[in-house]
Amino acid sequence: MSSSEERKLILKSSDNEEFVVKESSAVQCLTIKNLVEDRCVSDPIPLANVDSKILALVIEFMEKHAETTLSNSEKKEFDVEFVKKPFDDLLELILAANYLDFRELMDVLCNTCAKQMENWSVEEVREKFNIQNDYTVEEEKAARAENPWAFE
């Protein structure tokens, strides 16, 4: 009943760092929630696809959003500051949130990502997402000729 008896979980990142979190916060991640409900919780829970830097950020978000004393607008203010990160980090966070099935975080990140993409050209998108162009030379030429504005 008292908060000191609150259940805790240990999450282990891909680079073997361990993080202690409250179960009540962690179950915002449906992947973890399912493990808890199915009583498949090992100690610690290994998260092979999330490194320590990203996991720390996910936990920061997770704990903020689990705080019942915060109002929605305070949480929104936190979100606005939270997403002021380099795009690389945002991308890693999106992938982690997807893996953990953490919907609130996904929503915030996808919206941010979408907004940032609004003014990018094709080249900028490739650069930011670190994507290899797989169009042939002819295809690329044709695309540039048809939609020059998309490549500026």
Partner: protein, 361 residues
């Protein structure tokens, strides 16, 4: 079908989630791994349409994913070169259901619409408004390719003929919403007869500013489209009471009627609408749930032959027609003699207030 690209990356790679398993270094989005499809589509569903176009040019995998995922697309933001954009994009977006190509200056040509008709067989909604460079060829193409069309907006496409529209009506029979505003050559009695014959599910029809059809056409419409909810006859100068009477007797679900500038309309039309509503009420007497409020919007501006008793009778029969400022839905601009007509709530408000000079609208 798209050929595989020179680097040998195919769309299967899209489904592999990247990242190293355990140990050393952060998982980077590397060449052979990419953002999962469902994640990409989730982000794409949040961006504006120009960004969708940019994203589909990034790599084959992205283009394929987007073409599987995008069902709604608007290209109205493309001020120049819309025709070329349609020609290059549409072959990739074969599952499109909604395509908005509304223009400010007419860009589209027949070859664009022919392309749409060849690739987008699931299309349900198409907006081609103001494409007055399109010819009948476009309508023929749509008739053959887009049989599932439910909502078609060709307002301002002044080059279309009535024969082509009639032809289309024989094929796209699921149409529920049709906008022919300004399609003067297309909206004739012949075309309306074809529409009445074929578009039996039609709910909304805009014939605004088409003055080449008359009562014959509207009657065919009324007989053939009993489900009509909204009809815009704004500026349709040849319409007389006969049209309104036919609508009153046959289109029992009519909610919105625009008769702006139909100066041949007289009190007869108003009484026929009122009487059919009374008849409706009697017939649904035993099942109050089915009671239809009838008309909610009526525009009789500039119908200067109308007199107050007739319009008041109308207002009394349709409780959803309002003259009160908040819910103004009976529009009588330019009919100075109808100033005394009021809906029930306007009367109550007038009585309840301290006596003030009545502010006529």
């Amino acid at each position: 079908m798209r050929e595989t690209n020179t680097l040998g990356l195919c769309s299967e790679n899209m489904l592999i989630f990247g990242g190293g398993a355990g140990g050393g270094g952060r998982p980077r989005i590397s060449e052979s791994n990419d953002i999962p499809v469902e994640l990409l589509l989730r982000i794409i569903s949040l961006v504006h349409d120009p960004t969708v176009v940019v994203a589909s040019g990034v790599r084959h995998g992205w283009r394929d994913a987007i073409s599987w995922g995008i069902t709604h697309l608007s290209l109205s933001w493309c001020k120049k070169n819309m025709n070329n954009l349609v020609l290059s994009l549409v072959p990739n977006f074969t599952i499109l259901q909604v395509l908005i190509l509304r223009q400010d200056t007419p860009e589209l040509q027949d070859n664009a619409v022919e392309t749409i008709a060849s690739y987008c067989h699931d299309l349900q909604e198409l907006d081609l408004s103001k494409s007055f460079r399109l010819t009948d060829q476009s309508l023929y193409a749509l008739a053959h390719g887009c049989l599932d069309l439910m909502n078609l907006n060709i307002s301002g496409c002044s080059a279309f003929s009535d024969m082509a529209l009639a032809y289309l009506s024989g094929f796209c029979r699921k149409l529920k919403i049709l906008n022919l505003c300004g399609c003067v050559k297309a909206a004739t009695d012949i075309a309306l007869k074809a529409i009445g014959f074929n578009f039996n599910q039609l709910q909304s029809l805009n014939l605004g500013w088409c003055d080449h059809f008359g009562d014959d056409g509207v009657k065919s419409l009324a007989y053939g489209c009993p489900d009509l909810r909204a009809l815009d006859l704004c500026g349709c100068l040849l319409i007389t009471d006969e049209s309104v009477i036919a609508l009153a007797n046959n289109c029992l679900h009519l909610k919105s009627l625009d008769l702006y500038y139909c100066q041949s309309i007289t009190d007869r039309a108003m009484y026929s609408l009122a009487q059919s509503q009374l008849k409706n009420k009697h017939e649904t007497w035993n099942s109050p749930k089915n009671m239809d409020e009838g008309l909610t919007n009526l525009n009789i501006s500039q119908c200067t032959a109308l007199t107050p008793p007739a319009v008041q009778a109308l207002c009394d029969s349709f409780p959803a027609l309002h003259t009160c400022p908040g819910r103004h839905s009976l529009i009588i601009s330019g009919c100075l003699n109808l100033m005394s007509v009021h809906c029930a709530c306007a009367v109550q408000a007038h009585r309840a207030a301290v006596v003030l000079p009545h502010l006529a609208h």
